[in-house]
Subunit: 313 residues, 6 copies
């Protein structure tokens, strides 16, 4: 092996104290060597209301068709449903957005890091070794990603040494998730290279250092991103403003409601454009009963069109 | 009315405690129900030096032709005139700029909010009711906008609940002002939707929440934006750096001086390009009397051309 | 006059463009020359619910006896009443507290400044002159203070040039208000000298510069301090955490409730000290009905004692 | 029950969605209803190197005699040992220190909160109910405290609604821990009342609101405080600079080394005071071999005295 | 001379207290009038390891061919070499990047400013005058720039009055350096105009004020930019993340290593794309010895191609 | 030597790459090995206006008697003189003040650090070695301190690794300067120990780490502290607000003027206390000519008393 690259490899390992040994990977048990665990039973119990199927490890699996529809969602439409349900802690912002025009949509795959503490880390490594498992590191998580996933990482808002991926691993995340995306409360490196890769990403900083002085403490456990509690399998939706983590049981209702909101805005704009009304006469609710009736007709017609268009009949 | 939208409507009202009742709108008296008032007499007195005509409510009306010329202004050119006059508090920055390449130009239409306080707000509502007026809310102000206006809003730098408009009302502002623009010391929502609308906007944050927990306390009163005191009718000019609020009595001089500055820069650049001079030999003032003379000739010629071009003869 | 001091005098004037001319002072009309006005009628209308008497200018006057009782209040006790009423915007913090152990209690006397703008300021001066009034400056407000007042100043959080008082004027405020106090969203100067004066003060910064580059735009008008709307005559109460502005109509209820909260805490602490209970068994509400009864007895007895002590019959 | 207090009780419950039901408390199983669990086995495994006895729940128990000696420790002495071991992430600062002169020493009792999310919280409550356990809330943790504990709370640096205790619960923590102490990456309320209680406390903010909009997700699990990973049972030591979390296996060595550092400083200061040496001649290591020898004698003598003084034979 | 422009000229001078007198310019001695000097001998001594030729004033001159190759460098590639050498303080970030896609590459030409202090400044002016030299100001430095230079300015992170150039001088820097670039720990003005000029620039702020209240204290002396010590002649490389200052002795090795890193990434990506490997199987070092061998072949081949392409063979 | 302490010693050295070798110390030439030099000639030239004697190395020496008088100065009094002279950049604040009630007064002894850069640092060490000098480190400067000095350190506002002294070296600074004081734009360590030492100190942070990753680049050269340019020998005066650096040529005038200001305040306060005047009638200048006369008498009398008291006759 080339000396230069080998050194790079050694260094990255040293930084994490978390390097690879060989051997077959059996993920479901592999993750039992992490500090904080959240069993399949826990995951199922705590997401009991999700109405869809699940991954083998218990993670909710919002169907692909709904992911597709979610590409049109924006923050306000999601807010409308979630705040009504009393879910006010599902939004995080303050990120740099890699490709502002490109929607982020996918299933949350969560990862948690904590500051490196050697006594704890050594036990975790030893536990892994006893079970014939590789050491825990950022790639451990990345290699578990599925198409449609969004990698959601709590690395404590770190800048220096808090870079979850560079352009190589970012490329791999893109391949593995089929362009799903990345949300990191921390940083990335190789911003120049990453800018050329066509996958949505939300990050706090970029920095030339590799990840280090941290330990991976949980995969697909509940995590905090800003003021949001994120559960594995949440529907992740990001736009120019920030990122929403939608509990699976609200996905369908959010999407249906968003249809109505978009039709409402469409109709309102049309009315504005006629030039006969002040904003307060048609928005948010028309004062004139006739207008309200007209709107109801319009809504019904457009919803039917949408259904047909989606082949839902 | 559709249940979903109706709820949205109710919520927005609740948030502001400020909802619409029907009835014809007579704005000049309507605004008398706001907490802080600034009468037509006050407005005329405190902007006594403005040399142009006025709106019926007393607000100065910088002529359309000057607005047109102001589209070429930038912050430095305005600074040159205003600091000479001793007006150092007319600039505000630290905004996100929606369309960085697109100049913001228009007449200031000012709005002020304060934190909601129910005893005060209830009196304001009652006063409005007694006079057969609608309640005060953000749409109250928006429906009063005129072509060429820029909506300038002091909402205390709020992020959450400080969103003066979403894409619907932003669209209406665009229509009503003929693309005038928005400056808000606070936030907007629906950034995705707003990004597609072709009107300049300067805002501190974007957030998914609607406006709330505030009360509209003044329309077309003197307000503060950052370190600037803004009077209704000021000429608002924004570029990549920030926003200037130019008192009407200085508009003409600012524009004329900007012409000279631009000609000066044009000539200096030409001289640089000849490759014969160091920067300090031609800029900011040529040391060689011959060059100074040459510049004077150039200035005279170009000013004449500009005048002709504008048909000012 | 001494040259050195005279220069100091001139400079302070220049800074504010606001200097004294002689003449008798008739404040009620004097304040009509300020930019933002809030008439006696306005003040009475917008504080219509206050149950006490008023100052001649219409400002609510919470009685001295209640001010006295309010010296024992702290932020949490006030929060308990105001949040129940839905008044969540009456608290401001982030101040430096001059004498942390000394309670701040008094009636709000409000003052507002805006960034200096000469055209506006000149009109204000001219209006004042026409009515034989002195120019507006910080001393204009200070000379209007009454015993029991707290001077509450919105000077835009300025540090440099935002110093409402130095030790001389602070001393005068102390004398005029009988030790009432100062709250300034801005700065003070002469911190060394001020530290030796026994009056509560809440300020954001200290700075060696005198006040400047601002204009006094309102006296006893509604102002904003942080996230609070302050009305003239509000009961101002400050402790180590921050400052509450209590609408007069809630003063009595706040004080009575605080009595109960203090008795409740007194009793709970006694119970803890018996060593027989876990915190959750006695706090915040005892689970055992017998204990609840015991508490009720205690509360009744102590309230009666308090009343007697205060000579309230 | 008194209406006022009852409402307070209800509100506090509502805020947390976490209220008490009656029934006997069996804590070891009670904590199994929390979202993130860390079993006795986990705790023992991950703190395998601790050389002392343990609490029944597996938490390391640094002996009382060492706690006593630790009262003289300061941050620099701890840094000297831990950095040599490669433990650079055990320190947190940026706190307000309640009683700057009073040392904080005790065993870490850790608590973690996350933003409230109702679907998850409801499951946790239901699980608790099924096992006949009280709901999880801040008092759940407080009622489990032991003498010598320091309550270490990760509540996400929240200010508003992030107040782990007011003066009532702070008093109870003081009683339960025998004055152990509190470290909270978040806020407290009732700062006035708390200031009068003689227990060390480190907090980010004070605020009048009670705790709310959060859920207790873990008790005695690994948590993050600033850049430190804290394990249950760590020795917590705080001084004017900040707080150290010392892994139990390093406690003895840290204390012994601190003895030597203090003797070294004592001797150096004595030498300075003789007035014969420049700082670089005696500090940090004397250049003159004779002085080095003199120091060695002094060290030996003083260590012997210390041992005798402590009755260590 | 035109009155308006002349005033502008005077003002700029007054601001700096540093204006031009006529006379021939002999820079090598001219710079002896600056407050902080760093002689040609000093410069040579302190950059003794640089392996290339030098400018007449002793400044290292990284060859043009290496500048050319450096256009492909990014921050991570530079980090890889410099951290291995133990140079961890050569990176600065937190800048606004004028043209994010355009690489910044050139030789550091350093300039330092300090807060204006008249007694010191007057001596410097007098010294300059005695030697028949022009006064020191920002143009003094700009007129000394060479093709391939990057102007690196420490103006103390100032925003207001900290604008090293407007669009005129920026244009001249571009001409003089042949598009080299600008790095300023401070601000620029005329952002609108500067945006249209095709030269890389890194700045903290933009502001409408001209430079003022500072004095130029050093040209081509060691300076600090963020956490980096910059020596005159360092290779400056900037990308989307920030700016590296590479000591000349490491330029060749950095470039060679970057070649290998890029080939490594190229090969890894190819392997990913085959779809047969997990990220941890090929990155950062392949586990399979066969793959490692394959990579070594690839590396050798590609390095040879690169050399040939560059005509180095 | 004791192993533990020896390691501590080694580490501190390693951190700075700057350790002691033996040998006699001849400071005047020793300092020639620092990166940035400012010769005796430079120092004399650039402080040519100072009216007092000098130290052997050229540093201005404000007389002890004036230092003594300066103990009564506060920031506002200094501001009054310096702003009139046009010196607005001589003040720095934002410090933590160790003993708020204790005045800081002394002569500036300046020290500058830059981020460690090994190529540069190695040259500096080699130069020192060639001249038989010790390496440069913080103790190098400390051992040069004189009675009446204040150590003023620019260490770039660093917190971690930016600790100029711990309690040992702080003690030595106190001894060497006879309690002069410390101003550091950076941090200190051992805050607990330092708190017990009776010398004024102004610092940005405290941190448990020792100084490291920096190199000492200048002793008694011009430095920047916040927005101030500090020259060696400036009179340093600190109070609760911050620190002033007074050029020696203004010391006498500042002190005399402060006398007048204090007498003015004394008289004004007396007048207030008579209860006959509004603040604006006596402050800052009495309107009534009789009062002005009365003040002049008072001033003359008190100045005479002061002179007598000081034995100035």
């Amino acid at each position: 092996m080339n000396r230069v690259i080998y050194k790079k490899f050694l260094r990255a390992c040293g930084a994490l104290s978390l390097c690879l040994s060989g051997g077959a990977l059996f993920w479901p048990s592999a993750v039992r060597a992490q500090l904080i665990t959240f069993s399949k039973q826990d995951l199922t119990d705590y997401t009991a209301k999700e109405p869809f199927e699940r991954f083998p490890d218990g993670r909710p699996k919002v169907p692909d068709a709904l992911l597709e529809r979610a590409r049109d969602l924006n923050s306000e439409e999601i807010w409308a449903t979630l705040q009504e349900k009393g879910y006010n802690n599902q939004f995080a912002d303050g990120f740099q957005v890699l490709h502002p025009g490109k929607p982020l949509v996918g299933r949350a795959f969560t990862v948690q890091f904590m500051p490196l503490r050697q006594d704890v880390d050594q036990i975790a490594q030893q536990k892994a070794k006893e079970r014939g498992l590789p050491r825990l590191m950022n790639q451990t998580a990345i290699d578990m990603l599925q198409p449609g996933d969004v990698l959601v990482v709590d690395i404590m808002g770190k800048k220096v040494d808090g870079t979850i991926v560079g352009d190589n691993l970012f490329y791999y995340v893109m391949k593995a998730t089929h362009g799903g995306g990345l949300v990191v409360d921390g940083s990335i490196r190789d911003l120049n290279g990453i800018s050329e890769i066509d996958m949505p990403a939300y990050f706090k900083f970029s920095d030339p250092t590799p990840i280090g002085n941290v330990m991976l403490t949980g995969i697909n456990i509940p995590i905090r991103i800003g003021n949001a509690t994120v559960m594995p399998g949440d529907l992740v939706v990001g736009d120019r403003e920030g990122v929403y983590f939608i509990p699976p049981q609200f996905v369908k209702e959010t999407l249906d409601r968003a249809d109505e909101i978009r039709i409402h805005d469409e109709w309102t704009k049309k009315k504005f454009d006629e030039g006969k009304y002040k904003s307060s006469e048609v928005y948010s609710t028309p004062k004139d009963p006739k207008l309200r009736e007209e709107y109801q007709e319009y809504l019904k017609k457009r919803l039917a069109e949408l259904k047909k268009q989606r082949g839902e009949n």
